[in-house]
Symmetry: C2
Subunit: 204 residues, 2 copies
Amino acid sequence: MSSEFASNLLENAVNELSRLPGVGRKTALRLALHILRRDIGEGVALGQAIIDLRRGIKYCRLCHNISETELCQVCADAGRDTSVICVVENVKDVMSFENTRQFTGLYHVLGGLVSPVDGIGPDMLEIDSLVARVAAGGIKEVIIALSPTMDGETTAYYIYRRLRDYDVNISQLARGVAVGNEIEYTDEITLGRSLLNRTPFGTN
Amino acid sequence: MSSEFASNLLENAVNELSRLPGVGRKTALRLALHILRRDIGEGVALGQAIIDLRRGIKYCRLCHNISETELCQVCADAGRDTSVICVVENVKDVMSFENTRQFTGLYHVLGGLVSPVDGIGPDMLEIDSLVARVAAGGIKEVIIALSPTMDGETTAYYIYRRLRDYDVNISQLARGVAVGNEIEYTDEITLGRSLLNRTPFGTN
């Protein structure tokens, strides 16, 4: 056979599929052979959905959330509280907070975290545009909703320093024991914080 | 937000991706967001490769291997020994045997194994077409190269019964200790077979 896969079409599909995260060449081949076994309509629908996704999705001019229009569904919603901005790492986090149905303000998607190890500086993230939104006025509170990891804390502190001279309240997510987790398996730093920031019984 | 994903394009891509084997909705979302982060050309190339694959791949008229033409690359190769047929379960097994570079004959891809548990009968596989190839003459040997599993053994025995009255040698793959495996972890049936079918020292 001229190629490893008996077919250039198959080889090409395997090459493209194996660029996906967590997909090696063996998995890519398994996926390609699965696609071949199914109806032609199903394979074409998958391919077309990927093309339409990549061609059709824009980013919100204001908050950088994904959107099919210039303003995303959240920013365009007249019912949202425009005085509160929740700063998140990525688009997935927007979905997570929306799923809680607890937040009625707007978002600001950074597009990543400051990470000296990975060579990601603040200028590579949407931080200037966040400062600009605050500087433009009308914002009462900025909630920094980043993961409590090394990179998350670094980014949070950097944003705090950029915003602290503006007339805006800066808050962060409560740290504590995750609901459903056992005390026995919760790390001591989290336990210490949950003790320090304890709330009156029955409030949460 | 009107949909879980803030975008119908994203929701559609997640739906299609999650039809792939081993891909749940969380993984599908992760893949979709990965595609969005990369160049537009990369996403379109992936989608187009899948469409081209599904639209362009045919099956070889003779051996049922995948092919872009009526005869696959193996069957069309004038250098192959047309008197030997290696019977395999699927297209992937053809690739595995081709990778050994030890086989110069032709293949016959069954498209599965007889499996009473899964309701797959012999008539749903390419067994009649195998018998027809043998009946047409010119075949000296049929190597049954199926997995030594319950379904594999059932299928092998069924094929043997269908072919035994023809003037053709029927062989099967050697059973024995897999290269690189330790005796300690090899099952006793395999060990028994490897003892029974031992070969002169130095021959393999």
